[in-house]
Amino acid sequence: MTEAAKKLPRIEINAKFCKGCSICVDFCPTNVLEIRGTIVAVKDLEACTRCQLCDLRCPDFAIQVFD
């Protein structure tokens, strides 16, 4: 399977709910996320392992990772 065909996860961010606390950014094991302006953004989707830790530790119902 080529890299291009690899199925990437979909990271859904609720911009209205995210308070930019950076917990998800700081504890993402593969450094997928970053704070851009005042809220979270995806920096490197390919590195995402779908571990769900960002969602589990987000205090604000603001981030979810789908297949």
Binding site: F17, K19, G20, C21, S22, T49, L56, R57, F61, F66
Partner: protein, 287 residues
């Protein structure tokens, strides 16, 4: 399915939990500050409730006053927001008159252990079936950062400008000594353990107390030179605790000042209060 050569663990199936069915969506976003651990606890609690398989109407969530006590406002259960420190006593009345309800109390270290200390210990003493979650951030968040009965010696708050002088309570030891039959400690950093502990606490019949170390970045963090919520989670919750399992292989010196995390006490023998009350009623009626 991917046949990618990459290790299987990289392609784990990802199905996020659907929180919305348990929430009062019109009340969100919640009022808690950026990085406040209370939201992490709320989410773990909803996952635990789902795993136990409870119906929304079978739950009554009760709270006192404080940021932590805002929790019931966001959930689509039966809910009651009561007086400062008195949630366990309101909850006792609810449980005794509706023993079929699953009663969950959300409270803060100030609410439960300062103004509510008496209500807390007497609820534990009766071993009435309910789950008490103490959101333990070592400060009064809602009123602007005063020290609480769990503030560690030397910590700075707005009422301990030279470092807190009084020794803190050990919430779990106190709950156990008072008679609670399920006592555990968890953190908002160790989220998966938190969810499992809350599930076990809800399933236990009798008074369950779970102290959850979480973070108030706005007051405790800022006043104690921790710049972010993540830094607090790292220092206080991760480095400041050791699991019961890890502790088995460590000497007291190696454990040092770290707090134990996990289920600390689980007694399934002691009679539960509502059962005892029903038996007493039958006796009194000469049945």
């Amino acid at each position: 399915m991917s046949t990618d050569a990459k290790p299987a663990k990289k392609q784990k199936l990802s199905v996020p939990f659907d929180y919305s069915k348990y929430l009062r969506k019109d009340k969100l976003p919640h009022i808690w500050c950026p990085g406040c651990g209370h939201g992490i606890i709320l989410k773990a609690l909803l996952r635990a409730v789902d795993k136990v398989g409870l119906e929304k109407d079978d739950i009554c969530m009760v709270s006192g006053i404080g940021c932590s006590s805002r929790t019931p406002g966001y959930v689509d259960f039966n809910t009651l927001h009561t007086l400062h420190g008195r949630a366990p006593s309101f909850a006792t009345g609810i449980k005794l008159t509706n023993p079929e309800l699953n009663v969950i109390v959300t409270t803060g270290d100030g609410d439960a252990l300062a103004i509510g200390g008496n209500h807390f210990i007497h609820t534990c003493r009766r071993n009435i079936d309910m789950t008490i979650l103490v959101y333990s951030n070592a400060i009064y968040g809602m009123t602007g950062g005063q020290f609480s009965p769990t503030t560690p010696i030397g910590s700075f708050t707005h009422t301990s400008s030279y470092g807190a002088m009084e020794p803190p309570f050990d919430t779990c030891e106190m709950a156990k000594a008072a008679g609670a039959t399920f006592v555990a400690r968890a953190t908002s950093y160790h989220v998966q353990d938190l969810e499992k502990t809350l599930k076990a606490a809800i399933e236990h019949k009798g008074t369950s107390v779970v102290e959850i170390l979480d973070e108030c970045p706005v007051y405790f963090g800022r006043l104690n030179k921790m710049r972010s919520a993540s830094q607090m989670m790292e220092k206080i919750e991760k480095e400041g605790t050791v699991s019961v399992k890890q502790a088995e292989n460590l000497s007291p010196e190696e454990i040092g000042g770290r707090l134990l995390r996990g289920i600390l006490h689980h007694d399934t023998e002691t009679a539960e209060y509502c059962d005892q009350y029903a038996a007493l009623t039958e006796r009194a009626q000469g049945k």
